[in-house]
Symmetry: C2
Subunit: 138 residues, 2 copies
């Protein structure tokens, strides 16, 4: 089902500071910067590598305000890894297979994600505490 | 510096249960199973994808006993994402560059990791709460 590790989503308080750190320390490059009001985040996609199935990124997430999913994550856990996103060829088909096998979903249909992707989240309680995202590149 | 996302390390209470879940639900395959006494874990590497720079994995980690790094993580946070590992061409060279730029290291020299890799961890306080591993494939 998974074609790659698309990204690791990292929650932070200060997006600019973390972009500066990852680019200067590790040499990553900024592929995109967006605000996703639906997910309540300002974000940056930092390019790690290319592969036949698609690229891999570090996704830095700063909440728009405290009362968002990432804002509540930061209040509970502090900065750190928030979720992992796996590439899939067809997110709608993958959701159908997972729903049929009883996996609890957050999104029962795809929605818009970073850089034009079609995405859906699985519930962390269904995946051993791991907030898991499916990503179909545009 | 990074050539790929090598793996996402996931802490769990029951390695067998999680292997069964990831293989049956997502179709991942077990690439290796090892016990790493130095890191205090029983682990499985589940293959996600291949790429020119090397493969990507989900790494499932069960602590050998409670008084280990992963055991303490589970006691504090419960099951979930424990760390991220990035591929590098030369872990010793990467450590030299990072130390010179003042990044706090856990390992100031490489040690043995999964599947014959040479690895080193950076301190999460230096990387915005993210326990970060460098992985040089054998």
């Amino acid at each position: 089902m998974f074609t790659r590790i698309d990204h690791v989503g990292i929650a932070c308080h200060d997006l600019e500071e973390k972009i500066a750190f990852y680019t200067s320390t590790f040499g990553l490059t900024v592929a995109a910067r967006e605000t996703q009001p639906g997910q309540g985040v300002h974000e940056a996609m930092l390019h790690v590598a290319d592969a036949p199935a698609g690229s891999s990124y570090v996704q830095l997430l700063q909440p728009i305000h405290d009362d968002t999913a990432v804002g509540r994550f930061l209040a509970r856990h502090g900065e750190g890894i928030h979720h992992v996103g796996y590439g899939v060829d067809d997110v709608e088909a993958a959701l159908g297979i997972l729903a049929a096998s009883g996996v609890r979903l957050i999104d029962d249909r795809p929605r818009h994600g970073s850089m034009g992707a079609s995405i859906a989240f699985l519930h962390p309680k269904a995946v051993g505490g791991v907030l898991t995202e499916l990503v179909q590149a545009p």
